[in-house]
């Protein structure tokens, strides 16, 4: 009798895990309807001319040169020589007659080759040459599984970008975003992870009720998000690799705006309670201890951490309309207002170095993305839409991704912090919004 009870108890536990894993099982499912196409919207007026020569290929994998060209041109700062104009296609630095490439108008030349290694891995070798000085700027190898060639090519792009422009590239990075299809009230919501260029889109959560506010942990392993799957807002955290999912907060009222602390041990979040007054709290994920940060009748929400983990920036309308405030994490700290100028400043996001603050601002009658330099207070409006929102910095701090609209459809847009380059990422079939750029992976 005792044994049977134990067995059925274990089976129930196992079946609960299986029931939970039916959601988890959706990881790796390609996002058929919400695949993104990237297009350039603006670039610098004098892009750097570069020749990315087709790589000597290992049969079966794509040519990394195509991905590298796409990355570099997509950044708006490079102009790649068309393959049709190349009369020779060397694959090693030693075989490059630089004078010829210089004569064709190139400032830089990239050559490379793919080869197979023992154990089934592939190696991507490349050389980056300065056509004007003859200097070899980079000569490097990236290895990976055959199905990870896109990632290896993006890493090559990152090195080229950094060697030439002095800024770390963010091509080998990922984004998460929300896709919505159908008409209200019958809509399908998906939380999707994709490469930063929109490729390899994979669904990690699907629901018939809203999903919003994804937030990456700083090791890129977890996503926190808000889901209305139980007809009220609740906060979940999900491990991207395994699909393991945990309910973090389903308290009465609003549960919103989760944000991971830099050390990954806490979440800042918004709780409304049954009286419906949103305030900011910090939840310790291991002890479950909840610390209250704001306590006033205004709407206080959208808290994010400074990179040193010592302050939170958040939106509050305690002054009448929404503005961004900063408060130290710790007892007795009082919030100080950070934004001025516009009557509406909300949805703060810090650059990785903590010096720039991105926000949604009301610019005339348009909701746009602006960046404020925290030291000087100067603000630049970077986007040009009517209904822009949800800014997120790339991990190199040089670009922002945000939600925009085009012809009534929600799309993702990217803009460089200097305002000079931009791209759109859009889906044919779905509205895509709420993008968040993942941190650099630690591989």
């Amino acid at each position: 009798m005792h044994t049977m009870t134990q067995d059925s108890g274990l089976r129930r536990t196992w079946m609960r895990r299986l029931a939970a894993s039916i959601v988890a099982v959706l990881i790796g499912v390609p996002a058929a309807h919400a695949e993104l196409k990237i297009e350039i919207t603006s670039g610098v007026t004098d892009p750097i001319p570069i020749a990315v020569v087709p790589f000597a290929q290992y049969a079966g994998t794509g040519d990394p040169a195509e991905i590298i060209k796409h990355d570099l041109e997509g950044s708006g700062r490079f102009k790649a020589m068309p393959r049709a104009q190349m009369s020779v296609t060397p694959s090693r630095a030693a075989d490059v007659a630089l004078a010829d490439w210089r004569a064709s108008g190139n400032d830089y030349v990239v050559v490379g080759r793919v080869s197979s290694l023992a154990g089934g891995q592939l190696a991507v070798d490349f050389d980056l040459l300065n056509a004007l000085t003859g200097q070899q700027l980079a000569s490097q190898r990236f290895t990976g599984a055959p199905n990870a060639m896109r990632d290896a090519a993006h890493r090559v792009s990152d090195v080229i970008y950094e060697k030439i422009l002095g800024v770390r590239g963010a091509f080998a990075t990922r984004i998460a975003y929300v896709s919505v299809e159908g008409q209200p009230p019958a809509q399908r919501f998906q939380l999707i992870i994709a490469d930063a260029d929109g490729e390899n889109a994979r669904v990690v959560l699907e629901s018939h009720r809203p999903v919003m506010s994804p937030s990456w942990s700083s090791d890129g392993e977890w996503l926190a998000y808000v889901s209305f799957e139980n007809k009220k807002a609740a906060i979940y955290v999900q491990q991207v690799r395994s699909g393991e999912r945990r309910l973090v907060s389903a308290r009465a009222g609003i549960n919103g705006a989760p944000a991971w602390s830099p050390d990954g041990k806490r979440l800042a979040l918004t709780l409304g309670g049954s009286n419906g007054n949103p305030d900011i709290y910090i939840l310790d994920l291991s002890t479950q201890e909840l610390t209250r940060v704001t306590d006033d009748p205004s709407i206080d929400t959208e808290a994010v951490w400074s990179p040193d983990g010592h302050s939170l920036y958040f939106t509050s309308d305690r002054g009448g309309g929404p503005q961004i405030y900063r408060v130290g994490v710790g007892p007795g700290e009082r919030p100080r207002r950070v934004t001025f100028g516009s009557t509406y400043n909300a949805r703060p996001r810090l650059s990785p170095d903590g010096t720039q603050l991105a926000m949604v601002t009301l610019d005339g009658s348009n909701y746009r993305i602006a960046v404020q330099d925290l030291a000087s207070g100067s603000v630049r409006v970077l986007s040009r839409g009517r209904l822009d929102e949800s800014p997120s910095f790339a991990p190199n701090g040089a670009m922002l991704i945000y939600s925009g609209t085009e012809n009534g459809r929600a799309i993702l847009e990217r803009v460089s912090v200097d305002g000079l380059t931009g791209q759109r990422l859009k889906s044919d079939q779905a509205d895509v919004r709420d993008p968040v750029w993942a941190p650099f992976s630690h591989q």
Binding site: V23, L26, H208, R246, T270, L362
Partner: protein
């Protein structure tokens, strides 16, 4: 064995991917969490609310339909949570009914138009739901009869990016429950 069963479930889930309503049943209710270390502490926040956590079945009822009671939506001006115009009559009608039927429950669902930041809009939607709630309380409805939820801009009634659509989305919906 477990792996084979999981593979079968994957196949089934993929096949059912286009089937509406299927997902909601499969997602675990909020009071159950995956048993991991700290599971007791994890579910504490959820269990505190278990009584109010909605199940996945249909819990809504048509409710009273006579006269003004058939109106279930209160509309709001931009950036406002003030009940006015027709909304005042609508709320008054429901308040009278609820005060006279203390066993009946409603859920007030607050919404905004699409403009601006999504999480701030969750706060604004809640503010509207609370405005209706306070009005009901003042008119004799018991606190226990009312629950609120804010969808912010996440569940528009009308698609569109002009004032005609926006004015239909700034609303509180009064939903009668079983």
């Amino acid at each position: 064995m477990r792996r084979a069963l999981l593979m079968m479930l994957i196949a089934t889930a993929t096949m059912l991917a286009g089937c509406p309503g299927h997902r909601a049943k499969d997602l675990p209710p909020s009071s159950t969490s995956v048993p991991e270390s700290g599971a007791g502490a994890q579910s504490a926040g959820a269990n505190a609310n278990a009584a109010g956590a909605a199940g996945t079945g249909s819990e809504e009822s048509p409710g009273p339909q006579e006269g003004a009671l058939a109106r279930r939506v209160v509309y709001f001006d931009f950036d406002s949570s003030e009940i006015k115009g027709d909304g005042t009559e609508t709320v008054a009608a429901h308040a009278k009914y609820l005060a006279a039927n203390s066993g009946v429950h409603v859920r007030l669902e607050g919404h905004t138009d699409e403009r601006g930041s999504r999480e701030y809009n969750i706060g604004l939607g809640e503010r509207r739901a609370q405005a209706v709630r306070h009005s009901l309380l003042l008119q004799g409805v018991a606190d226990g009869q009312i629950s609120t939820v804010s969808y912010g801009a996440e569940r528009p009634a009308v698609q569109g990016s002009d004032e005609a659509a926006w004015s239909k989305n700034r609303r509180v919906e009064i939903v009668y429950l079983k």
